[in-house]
Symmetry: C2
Subunit: 304 residues, 2 copies
């Protein structure tokens, strides 16, 4: 039996909030359902942020409501920026939330108008509530490798944050290369150190492809034992407050590479191509996976 | 002092022969000189193949003649497919030639109208002559990882070919992922085995980016100790006889990644962007490096 890698598609959140077109609730649901149909095991379906700041994420409560089990079996995540977001997510019936921590003050100020330590304090408060509420918590550490404002991130700082929040009871810790600045040697070293200390079960990585090193970084993390990755259908994504950031690693590409390496992702590539095409059609700007031209030709040939 | 990685730009050969527009000798020289100006340590400037089969490579003798030292200091390579090509390259004053070996009969037949073993025999004959003539020889093993006709390549076959041709006196052996099909785990394993047996000084890798894994494969090979890579300015390239193959790994991207990882490549990225722009202008089809949009913004900011 093949070893598994667990992919979370963050396109309907990280992707849609970072492209110009605001999709309707129905279009967002179409996209989520298409990704789920391909067998992607978990989907970040939206965020509870200010609809004034991020109009594309308005109505995430309606998205969650429409995706209630048992009609929709794929586990969903909602991102929350603060306590108000947590309360909205809880009220909307979220089972899992992603909270954002920061490995630099520059990014924490720009993105959350707080210091790094203030975001940690807020997150610890939310974490306590979530435990009482039975809500699963993923803590994503933004700029885990480099910050566009403060420069390279000290790996020791990331290690400290990971240890603190695993101790505090976070279910998952995700290292986010928010601006797509990490190089694979750096990823290899930090992830190897973290896996050596904490094991890999609760650790994940989130890469952007700004410098074309997205898949190289995924491979480096896999080499260290990481088995959880965020990616985005058709490479949708970016970060509106991080200069130079571009799309997430495409689910199309990461699924193809990991399956070729012999891992089981649970994803059907044919159906994934339909979801990827839909993402391109709905947004008009999704780049599509970098291997998509090849992959579609390959899949067509397999079917003949 | 940083450790060095040695990059050979094969764009003026592997790139130009695989895009629709036939450049003039002057345009080819402009491109080679622009790449050299950026400090790329070695350039494959053309091939001695039939001008009927590959019109883009007609006049490689004139290219070599115009690039004679001491006016042009960067070492150049000419690719040769057979004994006739060798004789033409020698007559044109080539100091280094690349010969193509094959790790599958399917590709050898399609590309050279010979069996694998026949191409080995021809190459051994040429190698003997080249030794007498004082010409350096690089042997590139096509489809070292997968063949579009015969499927996955047996790593043991590649190991046998490498050992045979190092014994026979080849100066370098290059593993070519001709169709961009290799995945990084596969690259890591084969290169680690070869470096363990032969050391890394005479080994290189040549990746295409068809499945978006080009940089991941470069990183995997670097992890095994490989320090020589082929790449192509602006990602020019492909293989006309290999279905689904697309451009080489872009010199733009590989230089950026390796420098970010702390390696010395001798390449000035600013000047390399000029060569990359020229490749795009001259051909009209070069994709440009995948990190180029980011890299240009970054370099512009450094200069302010």
């Amino acid at each position: 039996m093949s070893e598994s890698v667990f992919i979370t598609d963050v396109g309907p959140r990280d992707g849609l909030q970072n492209q110009p077109k605001v999709l309707s609730i129905d279009e967002r649901l179409q996209l989520v359902r298409a990704i789920a149909a391909a067998g992607v095991p978990q989907i970040e379906v939206g965020s509870f942020v200010s609809p004034k700041a991020v109009p594309a994420m308005a109505g995430t409560d309606q998205v969650l409501a429409a995706l209630e089990a048992p009609e929709f079996a794929t586990p969903t995540i909602a991102l929350i920026p603060n306590m108000k977001g947590y309360e909205l997510a809880r009220a909307a019936g979220a089972k899992t939330v992603t909270m954002v921590l920061y490995a630099s003050d520059g990014m924490a100020q720009k993105n959350a108008a707080m210091s790094m330590l203030e975001t940690e304090a807020v997150t610890l408060d939310i974490l306590k509530l979530a435990k009482q509420d039975g809500i699963e918590v993923i803590a994503t550490i933004a700029v885990s490798f480099e910050c566009p404002f403060d420069g390279p991130t000290d790996p020791a700082l990331v290690q400290t944050i990971v240890a603190k929040f695993l101790d505090a009871g976070a279910d998952q810790l995700v290292l986010a290369d928010t601006i797509g600045a990490a190089h694979p040697q750096q990823v290899r070293e930090l992830t190897a150190a973290l896996v050596a200390t904490h094991g890999s079960a609760q650790l994940g990585c989130h890469f952007h492809d700004t410098r074309a090193m997205g898949l190289a970084n995924v491979y480096a993390a896999v080499e260290s034992g990481i088995r959880r990755f965020d990616s985005s259908i058709a490479g949708l994504g970016g970060c509106p407050f991080a200069p130079g950031a571009s799309g997430n690693v495409a689910t199309d590409d990461i699924a193809m590479m990991l399956q070729q390496m012999g891992f089981d992702t649970g994803i059907d590539l044919d159906t994934l191509m339909e979801a990827s095409d839909l993402a391109e059609t709905l947004t008009g700007t999704a780049p599509g996976g970098r291997s998509k031209a090849w992959l579609k030709g390959y899949l067509a040939k397999q079917e003949r």
